[in-house]
């Protein structure tokens, strides 16, 4: 691993960006954007996380195998979320049926 020393100026710069982004996410939460609120919140969080990983955690200056580990972790998390949700979002819910069987269970 080639030793790369990041200067404190970069750290402070990253810190300030993180502060700005934190403020941005709070402000954005007070505006009603419908389904986009969650999208914006997660997008900002991901930008912040990326900054931390790249600079605070030196991933930018790390060997390729470190990048592979990071990508694998994110990818596997995505598999879990995406494939599980693929079941739930494509289910058909027969609401009339629900009411009838609920009545039966109540009886």
């Amino acid at each position: 691993m080639s030793e790369h020393i990041v200067s404190p100026k970069v750290y402070v710069g990253i810190f300030l960006s993180l502060m700005v982004l934190t403020a941005a996410t709070v402000v954005a939460a007070y505006v009603n954007l419908g389904p986009f609120n969650i999208v914006i919140a997660l997008a900002i969080a991901s930008v912040k996380a990326t900054l931390v990983v790249l600079y605070f955690m030196h991933a930018r200056y790390s060997p390729n195998r470190t990048h592979m580990v990071i990508i694998a972790a994110v990818f596997w998390l995505a598999i879990m979320l995406a494939l599980t949700l693929s079941d739930y979002v494509t289910r058909d819910r027969d609401l009339a049926l629900n009411t009838r069987i609920t009545a039966l269970l109540g009886a």
């Binding site: 694998a72 596997w76 879990m80 494939l83 693929s86 079941d87 979002v89 494509t90 289910r91």
Partner: protein, 564 residues
Amino acid sequence: MDTPTSTRSATASVHKIPKEHYLNSSYGIRSWLLTTDHKRIALLYLFSVTFFFFVGGIFATIIRIHLMTPQGFLVTPETYNKLFTMHGVAMIFFFLIPSIPAVLGNFLVPLMIGAKDLAFPKINLLSWYIYLIGGCFVLYSFSTGGLDTGWTFYTPLSSVYSNSAVTPAVLGIFINGFSSILTGLNFVVTVHTMRAPGMTWFRLPLFVWAQYATSIIFILGTPVIAITLLLVGLERMFHLGFFNPALGGDPILFQHLFWFYSHPAVYIMILPAMGVISEIIPTFARKPIFGYSFIAGSSIAIAVIGFFVWAHHMFLTGESVYAALAFSFLSYLVAIPSAVKVFNWTSTLYKGSISWDTPMLYALGFIGLFLIGGLTGLFLACLGLDIHIHDTYFVVAHFHYIMVGGAVMGYLGGIHFWWPKISGRLYPESLARVAAIVLFIGFNLTFFPQFILGYLGMPRRYHSYPPEFQVLNVMSTAGASILALGYLLPMIYLVWSLKYGAVAGPNPWPATGLEWKTDSPPPTENFLVTPEVTWEPYDFETRPDLELDHIVAGKLPAPAHGDD
């Protein structure tokens, strides 16, 4: 069966056990319990997984005896349910998952890549202690009220309705998970950073590739089951409702999270066994393995694609039809790399110089049983068929063919193959061959009838069954008694050989791997001089150090085709 093909008898007498090796470098119970030597830790694991294998085996024996009559005459329904649950938990989490990785992997990975130890020896010891603590929790659960949820812990049965000791059991499995994770972490780092000079990625033994693939599953799958079972424990302790429909939770979500790990966990069990077979076959066929890169690649492919198929356990839970189609499709994809391995093993035998030594018999048995186990997986992945055979004895037979027929045959084959390296001595060959054959026959007698039972509709986890199923159940029980004998035999003669076995010498077979370039048993630091690898894997042709005269009448080595 007794063919005088072994080279050992001629050379065995000239060898001596080295003066100092890892077993006698220090003495006393402390030198074992505080050891950081990967070889000693492997032996600690060997004892503990064997213990759990017998715990699980006793449960299995009672289950099979109980099922001899339709009403079941031995135990009450409560006890029966506890027996099959505890059998599953002991066997899966405390025997099969750690067996090959933690015993053979621990012993061999550093030796095979020419390292002095794993990258983190203390963490390696820590994993064993974590395993023990997890094991104690589970044994505590077994002995105080038992466990009756099925090893699958489906909610809300496990989280609300079961009156057995679920909480200590899930905590035990949670804790044990970290043992797997740390073992996997150690292997990955070791393979990346500790390889000897000249040991490039494509010179790695296929066993190491398999361990690497397994470690991927350990690292990225195990944490999910850990957190999921922790949530079940919390539900029970604090009346939470993550998976409890009465409180708004979703029991199907539990199944998703559970199988996200537990399906790949099947590959944790079978991949290392495939790795063992990939070592045994070229050694006893005395030729390079056919399609090295395809076998190595298929291990990684199985580990990765294995994570995309889990919901095929859930086709009949009311899963979305679209998701079911996707998961069935992906499940068929994961069958391909397994098929590739089998074809390559078979081709390796072609024009080989095949000996019938015990490890090779296990390899032969493995191929046969894994074929049946793997091919019946195609039945279960088939959506239309799964409607009928899901949750029947067909499934029971299928996964026993994979886990017992595949993983345990691979494990025992590996133990026999590397026993001379581990102990420095040879086991009695003819007795070992008999045991391998007894195991193979007993296994098939036990589990093949269960395929038919399953297709006839006998559901799994039944403590009593309709009388028309009795004949097949009795056959299965009869087979199990033969199988039990097959497991006891190696136990006896392996222990016997520790003292009375012939001295093996560094490379009795001979085999090409780096682990055979050092003494048997190896010294604590593995290699007195760091080895340098200059040869391709499984190459017998250009290895004068193996002391094989390769110009033999009728078998002139042909020019190798393909390139290295």
